[in-house]
Amino acid sequence: MHKYMSRIGLLVVIAFTAGCSSLGVEPWERDVLAKEEMQLVTDPVEAGIDDHIYFSKEASSGGRGFGGGGCGCN
C-alpha cells in the first residue's frame, strides 16, 4: 500500500511540474487570488491552534505547505 501511494504521489508531482508551464493566469487576472479568503492559510492563528490540538491527540502532525498564490505583486 505504501509503495503504491508513494509512486502515485511521485507521478502526481511529475505530472504537475510538467504541466505547470501552461497553467495559470496573466499577472493582471489575479483579483480573486488576491482575496484574503483565497490564501492557502486564511487564519494562521487558528491553523496553529488546530495543529496543536490534533498533534496532541493524534500521531500525525503538520504537513502543510507554504508560499504561492495571492496577488503575485512585486
Binding site: 499577472p27 488576491a34 505583486c73
Partner: protein, 161 residues
C-alpha cells in the same frame, strides 16, 4: 538593455498602429477617450499598469502623483492603466488613493498583452518617439530613485530640454 529596447520597441511600433484601448467604464470621470499614445509624441509617457487589489499600487500612487507634478512642465505624462474586472473596485481605490494623472481602463487586458506585462504593477517609460526605454516590474519604495532617474533620463533626451 539594448536588446530589451529593441524587443519592446518593435512591439510598441505594432502597438502604435493599433491605437487600442477598451472604453473606460462609466465610473471613471472623463476617461472615456480611447487612448492614443501617438498623440503624446514629443513627451515622455509613463504607462503604469495597476489594479485595486494590488497592494504595492497603494505605495506607487503617491509617488506617481509626485512625479507628475514635478516633471509636467518638462514634458512628462503619466497614464495609469487600470486592470480591474470590476470598475467599482477601481473607483473605491481611487477614492482612497487619488490620482493626479490620467486613468484609463483595460479590463480585457488587450493593452497589457501588447505591452507584454509580466508583473503587477508594471510601468513602462516611453521616450518622445514612443519607444519603450525602460520597464519597471513591481514597485519598491527603495527603488524610487532608480525609477525617477529613468524618467529624468528620458526627459533629458527630449528636444527642448
Amino acid at each position: 538593455m539594448h536588446r530589451l529596447r529593441f524587443a519592446l520597441s518593435s512591439r510598441f511600433l505594432l502597438l502604435l498602429s493599433f491605437c487600442w484601448l477598451a472604453e473606460a467604464p462609466a465610473g471613471f470621470a472623463a476617461n472615456t477617450d480611447q487612448l492614443d499614445l501617438s498623440s503624446y509624441r514629443g513627451k515622455v509617457v509613463v504607462v503604469d499598469f495597476w489594479a485595486s487589489w494590488c497592494v504595492p499600487c497603494r505605495r506607487s500612487f503617491p509617488w506617481l502623483n509626485q512625479m507628475q507634478a514635478k516633471y509636467a512642465d518638462q514634458g512628462l505624462v503619466i497614464v495609469g492603466v487600470n486592470m480591474d474586472a470590476e470598475p467599482g473596485e477601481a473607483e473605491a481605490f481611487l477614492e482612497e488613493f487619488p490620482a493626479d494623472f490620467r486613468i484609463v481602463a483595460d479590463p480585457g487586458g488587450g493593452l497589457a498583452k501588447q505591452f507584454d506585462v509580466i508583473a503587477m504593477p508594471s510601468s513602462y517609460v516611453l521616450d518622445g518617439n514612443g519607444q519603450v526605454v525602460a520597464r519597471h516590474l513591481g514597485f519598491k519604495v527603495k527603488k524610487q530613485d532608480e525609477y525617477e532617474a529613468a524618467i529624468q533620463d528620458a526627459l533629458s533626451q527630449l528636444e527642448g530640454n
